[in-house]
Symmetry: C2
Subunit: 891 residues, 2 copies
C-alpha cells in the first residue's frame, strides 16, 4: 500500500504524523518539500505501507514523481519515447527520506518561437494548444520538478485558446505566468484580437482601455496560483513606446506598475505582498532600471541574459538587502531575434548553463528561474539540466556535471552505454556552442591554417561513428528515444559541418582554379539532400510520425537574425574546365595557388620543438588528370602522399615532415618542386615547375632542454590551455579552479568563490603561472580567450592582470568606460563574441630575451572564465580557434 | 609630288624655306611642330607640290601621319582592323597649315599587367615582345602623336628580349623610358635574371653591384633619346627597403639620385641638364617627397594618380616657380593591384580623363603624361583620347568631348552611324566607370529599391540592342573593327550585368522561398557560358584569330585585388521544392517575403508630387503554379499585371498606381490583398491572405502650386542633379559650370577656372541655388555626391559650403586633419569611393517649416565636382545610386 497526501490537507497523513508513525517535522511549513517513509502498521489491517507526504500540494506531487522515476519511469517517457522497462517487482529500502526546499522557488520554462514546429505539431496532434496538449506539458514539468510556465504566445492566448487551460494548470499545480512583455496575466494576442479603445498598446494614448485590459486579466486569475508579470513594453515584444525622454519614460513605467498593483489588489482582494509579481528587465527595460526606476521591494526583479545564455546583470549586495521579492533570471536556450536566432537544435552545453546559473545562485538571483525553450523539443537535455540545478544545485556542482550526465543516460538507456552516451550528448552540445548551426558559414573554419576545417569535420565524423555504433547496439525499443535525444542532433550537425566545409572548399578551390571546384558543388548538394533525409526521419519515421513537424525549422541559409523561409543550399560556384592536364599547387598557410600567385609559395616554418607536419596539394586545373610529380631538394624533407582534403578524386595531398636527425641545430632552407613529369623541358606545352620553399628551424640541445615542458615555440604563434599552469597561488579561500569540459577547452579556469571580493593589486591576488619558452624575443601579444561574461556586477569592470616574470603587471578591464558600450549586450564587440562564444582579452608584452619565462595571470575581479591563451609575435594566421595547444616535448 | 623633310636636316626643305617658297618661321626652333603647305614650282620641272616640313624629326613624322589620317588611314588601321577606304583621288586645298608645339612635351603609354593577354598574344603572333612587335607599337604611337613609351616589364626586359628593340625605338623617334620603379634605363628583369653582388636590390647592402647595374644602363643608352627614370623602389614594384626611419630613408634616396646623376654624366659625357630625367612619386614615394626629400630642379617630378585615374597631387605655385624640369603625371586606365584590379575592358570615360588631366594642365603638370594601358587593347579609345588631349587640349575642351567622339566614330566607321556609335562608346565606358566589371557583385544594385537593378539591366540591354542594330547595318569589312571597338565591350558588360543581377535575384529569391530561385541559378550558368562565347568570338573569330589571347583575362570571380585563376560563376543557391501551390509575395522596398516575415508588408508611400508607381510580385513557393489572386481595397488603387523581374515564368508582377483624381488631398490608406482563389476559407490547406498596406499622400492644390518646378517630396528621399539649379552666382571670372556627361549624371558642376583661388567666405563665393519643396519639416540630410577628387592642392582641404535659405552656411572640408588619412589614397574612405567612383559629402540641416526653400551650395575650394544631391529625412533606402532625380511637375 502506498499512502499519499499533503500535510494539513490529508486526514490520513495528518493522523499518521500525529501518531508519530511518520516524521514530518523536517518538512513542516516548508515550500514544496516531501518525505518518503516506510511505515509499519499505518492503519488497522495494513502491515506496512510506503508513505509520501508533501509539505504542500506540489511537494506531494514531486514525491510521487520521485517514486515514479525511481521505479523506472523517465520524465520523458512520453515526450521522448523513453521506454518504461517492465519490472516484476519493486523493492523499497526501509527508512525515511526527506526532500527539503528547492534552491529556486519558481522554476520554469517558456514555450516560445513556436512556429513553424510546435504550432504545426500541436495542430496536427492535438488540434491546437489546448488542454490536451498542456496536460502533457504540465505533467512533464512536474516530473522535472518545475512549477512555473510561460505559455506559448506567438499566435496563442493560453486562456482563450482553450478555456480549460487555465483551470487545468491550477489543478495540476502549475504556477502560470505570462511572458516578460505580457503583463497582468494576459496574452498579447488577447489585445491584438480586440484592440480596445483606440487600439494602441500605449499607456499614454489609450490608458482606459489598457487599464481595463489589465483589470480583466487580474479578475480572471483571482482564484488561481499565478506569478503576475507587471510592467509594460511595446506592441508585441518590442521596446515601449517612449515618451521622448528617459526620465519621463521611467515615470510612465512607474505609474503603470503602481496602477497594475492597485488593480491586482482591487480584483483579488488580497494584500499586494500576497500576490507574487515579477518585473522582467529584458532588453531595453534594464536601461530604465539602471536609470533609477523604482519598483516596490516585494516585486521580484528578473534580470535577463543576452539571449544567448550570458546573464547581463545580477543583484548587488545593496539591492539584495532591501528587496523582499528577491531576484530572478530569464535565460535562453532558444532564440528568435538578436543577436541571432537559434531555433533548430540543442546548442546548450551543461557546463555553460551551470557556470552562468551558478553566478545567479551565488549572487542571490534565486527567486525565479525561467528559460526560453522554444518548441520544448529537441531541448530535452538542457531543460532537465536547468530544472535539476534549480531544484538541487548540489546535484550538478561543476565537478559533478559528467556524473549527472551519466546518470541521465543510464536512466534513459540503461547502464551498458551510459558513459558513452553521456559523452556523446555532452560533446555535440559543446561543439554546437562553438558556433551555432544557424551561424555556420562556409568560411568559418580555416582551410589553410592549422588544418582547422578538416579537424572539425573529423571531430564530428568520429562523434557520428560512435553514435551510430551505439544506435546499432541498442535494443529496438530504445532506438526512437536514442534517435531524438542523441543520434539526430549528431547526424544533423555533422552533416551541416561537412556541407559548410565543402562549400568553403568550393569557394576556395574556385579561386585556386581547381577542377574539383565542381565536385565540391556536387558534394554540397548531396549533403543538403542528406540534411533533409535526416530531418524527415525525425518527422516521419520516428514513433510512427508522433513528432511530425517538430523538425520543420529551417536552419540553413540565414543572412540576418530572421529565418529563411526554407533551407537554402550554401551558394556554390562552378568552373568551365578546359581540356588540359595542367596542374596547380596549394600549400598549407596560404589561400593562393600556383602557377598563379605573384609571390612564390612557401610552407609555414617547421619548428623542431613541435614537429608538426605540413601539407601541400597538387590538383588538376583542367578536365584531364595531371601527371605532376613532387620532389624534395634534400633528404631531410620527407614527402608522403595521402588523400587530399577534397571531394575531387584527382587531388593529391603530400605531407611534409622533417627528418630532424639529419639536421644540425639552426635554420635550414630547402625546396619541394612540383613539375609535370610527362613532358620534356623543350616541350612548349610543359608547365613551369613550382618550387615551394621549406624552412626548418631546429632547436639546439640547450634550447630543447630549456624548453621542455614549457608552452612556446621557436617563433610561431602558439597557445596554452588555461589548465596548463605549473603553479596556482590562492589568497585565503579565493583561488583559480578548473571548470571541466568548458567552452573550447578541456578545462577552463575561473575564480572561486564566484562572488569573491575584487582584489585591485594583482601581485597579491590569486594567480596562475605558466612556463613559457620564447624562441624569438620582441613584442608578443597574449590573447586571453575568455568566456564572453557580461558585467553582472556593476561595481566592477571585469578586470584581469597579466605579466611576464617580474615585469610590472598590466591590467585589462573589459568593462572600462571606453569599452563598456561595445562589450555589453547589443554592443558591437559582444555581438561578435556572442557568435564565437568567447572574448579576446589582449595584452602586448615586450619580452627582452629568448628562453624560458613565466607568464603570470592574476585575478582582479571574479566571474572571468579563462579558456586559453594565444601568443604571437607575427600576425596571427587567420583561423576560428587559433593554434592548437601542444606542450613542448609532448608532441 | 609630296616633299617631306625636317628643317636643318633636309636640303630640299631648307632650300624651299630659303627661297621663300615655304613659310617655316612659325615652326622654327619649335618642339615637334610641322607645317603642311602647297607650293607652286618647288623645283625645276615640278609644277606644284605638297610640302611637309617638321621642326624636328618627330615634327616631320607627325606631319606625315597627319596627312595619312586625313587621307583616310586610321591610326588603328592595323591595331583595330579599321578599313582603309580606297579613294580614286585625293584633293588638297591650297594653303598653309602650321601645327605648333604640343601642350605636353612627353606623351606616352605604359604597357603593363601584360599577362595573361599581351604576353600570350605577342608570343603567338610575334614570337615575343621583339622588334616586330614594337615596330607596330611605335608606329601606332607616332600616328597618335605620342613620343614616349614605358615598355612591358612583367617578365620582359625591353633591351634584352630583342637587342633590336632599343635601336629601333631610336630609329622611329620614340623616347624610351622605363617604368616608375625601374631606374636608369634598365628593366627590373635585367636585375632578377642576374642578381649581381649579394643579389639584393638594396642600396644599403649591395651598393657596388647596384651602382654597376645603373652604370651599364646609362652606358647602353648614351646615344639614344631617353627619358631616364631615377630614384629607387623595392624589389619588383614594391616599397623601398626602408632604413628604419623616414629621415634616413630620405637621405638614402637623395644619395641614390645623386649617384645616378653622376653616373649619367660620367657615361654620357653630357651636362646633367641635357639629360631628361623623371622621378615618379608612386605610392609610398610621395611620402618621402612630402617629408622634404629634395630632388634637383632639373628633374621632372611625376605625380601619380590613385591607380584609378584620380591624381593624388599637383604642383603648387611655389613648386612650379623653381622646378625647371617641370612636372608630369602617371595615370592609369588599367591596374593590377590596389585598391583593386581592372584589366579586362575599357572603363575610362572621356569626361573623367579630361577633368583630371585638365587639372594637371592647369596646375602646370605638363612636362610628361604617361598612362598605364595594360595590354594596350582593348583600351584603344581612352588611349587616343588621352594622347589627343596631351597633344592639343583645345580639341577636347569639356564642351567638345562629344564632338571629338563623333569625329572619331566618323573616321573609323564613316558618317552614317557616327553619332550613334559615339554615344555607344561614351555610354558603355560611363556605365563601366559606375562600377568596374571586376568589382561587380550580385548585390551591388538594389532589387527592392528604385527598381535599380532592373533599370541597370534595361540600360545595358538598350545599349546592346542599338549596338547590335548598327553592327547588322554596317558593311562587312567594318565589322571586325566595330566588334572590337564597340560591340564586344557592350555585349560583354551587358551580359555581366545581367548575370550579376540574376545571381542577386537567386540569393534574394532563396531568402524569399521563391521557387524561381532555381531558374535564376540556371540563368546565371547560361549567362556565364555566354560570357565565354562573347570572349571566344573576340579571340578566335575576329580577323581570322588575329587577336587571339587578348581577351584571356579572367574578370568574373575576384575576391581581392588579385585575379582569380580563371573566371568563376557567381555562387548560386538552390531550393528543394515541395509539391505545393503555395504562393509568396514580395513588395517594393523590402527584401522580405510573405507569408513569412513577422511585420506586415506595406508599399513605399505614394506621393502625388511624383506619381511613381510601385510593384509587388506574387510567386510560387512550391513546384506547382499558384492560383493566388490580387485585389485592391479601393477604386483609387490601380493594379496592372506585368512580367515579373525574374527568370521564373510563374512569377507575376503587379504594378500599383494611384488614381489621384479619385482622392482628396491628404493621406489615405488602403490595402492590396493576395489570396489563394481556388480554395474556400474552410479548406484547411488554404493560405492566409496577405494584406499589403498602401498609403497615398496627395498634395493640396496649394502645395502643388508651391512645389511646381522644385526638387522635393511630401516626405520621401529625393535627389537633385547638379545642373538642376535655378540660379548660379559667379564671382568675377570664377563660376560653377557644367561638365557634360560626367560620372553618374548628365552634367556635373564644377568651378572654373579649375585653379581659381580658394574663397573662405561662402556667402561671397560662387554659388548654386536649387528650388526645394519640403513636405515634412525636420532634420534633413543632404548628401553631396561628388567625384572622389583627391587633395591635389595641399594648400587647401577641398571644402564646400551648404545652407538653406538664410541659415548660416555649413562648411565641410574633405581633407580636414581628422578626415585626411581616410580620404586620401590608401585611406579607408577613398578605398570605398574608388570602387563607387564617387564621394558622399554629407550635411545635416534643420528645416523648420514645410514648403518652398532654397538650397545653396557654394565654393570654398576649386576642383570639387558636384554630381548630384541626395536629400532624406528618414533613413535612406539601400541602393547604389540613391533615388532617381525627378523635378516636381515633370513626372
Amino acid at each position: 500500500m502506498v499512502l499519499i497526501g499533503t500535510l494539513g490537507r490529508s486526514g490520513t497523513i495528518d493522523r499518521l504524523a500525529a501518531a508519530g508513525k511518520i516524521d514530518v517535522a523536517p518538512i513542516a511549513d516548508k515550500w514544496e518539500s516531501y518525505t518518503i517513509q516506510t511505515v509499519r502498521d499505518p492503519m488497522p489491517g495494513v502491515h506496512e505501507a510506503l508513505v509520501i507526504a508533501g509539505s504542500d500540494k506540489r511537494g506531494t506531487i514531486y514525491g510521487i514523481y520521485d517514486l515514479s522515476q525511481n521505479i523506472g519511469v523517465s520524465p520523458w517517457y512520453w515526450w521522448a519515447d523513453v521506454p518504461v522497462v517492465k519490472r516484476r517487482s519493486i523493492h523499497v529500502a526501509y527508512g525515511k527520506y526527506f526532500q527539503g526546499e528547492p534552491a529556486v522557488k519558481y522554476r520554469g520554462i517558456f514555450l516560445n518561437n513556436e512556429a513553424p514546429c510546435l504550432s504545426a505539431w500541436t495542430a496536427e496532434k492535438f488540434g491546437g494548444m489546448n488542454a490536451a496538449f498542456y496536460a502533457r506539458v504540465f505533467e512533464l514539468l512536474l516530473r522535472l520538478r518545475a512549477n512555473y510556465l510561460w505559455p506559448a504566445m506567438w499566435n496563442n492566448a493560453f486562456n482563450e485558446d482553450d478555456p480549460r487551460n487555465g483551470p487545468l494548470a491550477d489543478e495540476y499545480g502549475i504556477v502560470m505566468g505570462t511572458s516578460h512583455h505580457e503583463p497582468m496575466n494576459r496574452a498579447h494576442k488577447e489585445w491584438t484580437s480586440r484592440r480596445p479603445g483606440n487600439g494602441q498598446w500605449n499607456y499614454l494614448t489609450n490608458r482606459p482601455a489598457v487599464q481595463n485590459f489589465f483589470r480583466e486579466g487580474a479578475r480572471r486569475g483571482r482564484d488561481r496560483e499565478l506569478l503576475v508579470t507587471i510592467g509594460m513594453r511595446g506592441d508585441g515584444d518590442t521596446a515601449i513606446q517612449g515618451t521622448g525622454g528617459i526620465r519621463s519614460d521611467v515615470e510612465l513605467i512607474e505609474t503603470i506598475i503602481k496602477d497594475q498593483r492597485r488593480i491586482l489588489m482591487e480584483e483579488t482582494g488580497k494584500r499586494i505582498t500576497d500576490i507574487p509579481q515579477v518585473w522582467v528587465l529584458f532588453t531595453e527595460v534594464l536601461k530604465y532600471y539602471e536609470a533609477g526606476l523604482h519598483v516596490p521591494d516585494d516585486v521580484t526583479l528578473m534580470f535577463a541574459d543576452d539571449n544567448v545564455g550570458y546573464i547581463r546583470r545580477l543583484p548587488t549586495p545593496e539591492e539584495r538587502a532591501t528587496r523582499t521579492g528577491g531576484f530572478g533570471v530569464y535565460h535562453h536556450m532558444d532564440m528568435n531575434g538578436g543577436p541571432y536566432s537559434y531555433k533548430w537544435i540543442n546548442t546548450n552545453p551543461f557546463p555553460k548553463i551551470r557556470e552562468q546559473m551558478n553566478l545567479a545562485l551565488e549572487y542571490g538571483a534565486d527567486r525565479i528561474w525561467i528559460t526560453n525553450v522554444g518548441d520544448l523539443k529537441p531541448l530535452e537535455l538542457p531543460i532537465e539540466f536547468f530544472l535539476s540545478m534549480a531544484w538541487d544545485p548540489k546535484s550538478v556542482t561543476k565537478d559533478r556535471i559528467a556524473e549527472w550526465t551519466v546518470l541521465w543516460a543510464k536512466r534513459e538507456f540503461g547502464a551498458s552505454h551510459a558513459e558513452d552516451i553521456a559523452k556523446l550528448v555532452s560533446r555535440y552540445a559543446k561543439y554546437n556552442a562553438w558556433r551555432k548551426p544557424e551561424q555556420m558559414r562556409p568560411d568559418i573554419y580555416s582551410l589553410e591554417n592549422y588544418r582547422e576545417a578538416e579537424r572539425m569535420v573529423a571531430l564530428w565524423q568520429r562523434l557520428r561513428q560512435r553514435a551510430e555504433a551505439i544506435h546499432d547496439a541498442l535494443p529496438d525499443n530504445f532506438r526512437a528515444a536514442y534517435y531524438q535525444l542523441v543520434l539526430h542532433p549528431i547526424r544533423g550537425c555533422c552533416n551541416l559541418t561537412e556541407m559548410m566545409v565543402a562549400a568553403g572548399r568550393n569557394a576556395r578551390f574556385a579561386q585556386q582554379g581547381r577542377a574539383s571546384t565542381n565536385a565540391e558543388a556536387t558534394e554540397v548538394k548531396r549533403l543538403f539532400a542528406q540534411a533533409h533525409r535526416i530531418r524527415d526521419t525525425y518527422n516521419h519515421d520516428l514513433s510512427g510520425g508522433k513528432w511530425n513537424h517538430l523538425m520543420d525549422q529551417p536552419y540553413i541559409g540565414y543572412v540576418s537574425w530572421y529565418q529563411p523561409i526554407q533551407d537554402i543550399t550554401p551558394a556554390v560556384s562552378e568552373l568551365d574546365l578546359e581540356d588540359t592536364s595542367r596542374f596547380g599547387v596549394a600549400v598549407e598557410g596560404s589561400v593562393q595557388s600556383w602557377p598563379g600567385y605573384y609571390l612564390p609559395p612557401s610552407l609555414p616554418m617547421f619548428d623542431s620543438l613541435h614537429r608538426d607536419r605540413r601539407w601541400l596539394e597538387v590538383f588538376p586545373r583542367g578536365a584531364m588528370p595531371t601527371t605532376a610529380t613532387v620532389q624534395a631538394s634534400d633528404p631531410w624533407i620527407i614527402l608522403t602522399e595521402a588523400r587530399a582534403f577534397s571531394s575531387g578524386k584527382e587531388d593529391r595531398r603530400y605531407w611534409v615532415d622533417i627528418d630532424w636527425a639529419k639536421l644540425p641545430a639552426g635554420r635550414h632552407e630547402g625546396a619541394i618542386t612540383v613539375s609535370d613529369g610527362t613532358v620534356t623541358m623543350s616541350d612548349s606545352a610543359a608547365q613551369e615547375a613550382i618550387s615551394i620553399t621549406v624552412i626548418a628551424d631546429k632547436a639546439s640541445s640547450g634550447q630543447m632542454q630549456e624548453a621542455k615542458g614549457c608552452w612556446g615555440s621557436l617563433g610561431a604563434a602558439f597557445s596554452i590551455p588555461a589548465d596548463g599552469y605549473e603553479r596556482t597561488i590562492a589568497v585565503g579561500d579565493v583561488r583559480w579552479d578548473a571548470i571541466e569540459d568548458y567552452g573550447r577547452v578541456e578545462a577552463a579556469m575561473s575564480i572561486f568563490p564566484v562572488d569573491a571580493e575584487s582584489m585591485p593589486d594583482p601581485t597579491r591576488s590569486p594567480r596562475l603561472e605558466y612556463p613559457l619558452f620564447i624562441g624569438e624575443p620582441g613584442r608578443w601579444t597574449f590573447d586571453l580567450i575568455t568566456a564572453p561574461t557580461l558585467n553582472i556586477n556593476p561595481n566592477n569592470q571585469l578586470s584581469v592582470a597579466l605579466w611576464i616574470d617580474d615585469a610590472p603587471p598590466q591590467i585589462y578591464s573589459v568593462f572600462s568606460p571606453a569599452r563598456k558600450a561595445s562589450e555589453e549586450f547589443v554592443g558591437e564587440a559582444h555581438d561578435h563574441d556572442s557568435r564565437t562564444d568567447m572574448r579576446v582579452v589582449p595584452f602586448t608584452v615586450d619580452i627582452p630575451s629568448a628562453g624560458r619565462h613565466t607568464l603570470k595571470i592574476a585575478m582582479i575581479d571574479p566571474a572571468l572564465v579563462l579558456q586559453s591563451i594565444i601568443a604571437y609575435r607575427d600576425p596571427l594566421p587567420a583561423s576560428y580557434f587559433g593554434p592548437p595547444s601542444m606542450r613542448i616535448g609532448e608532441g
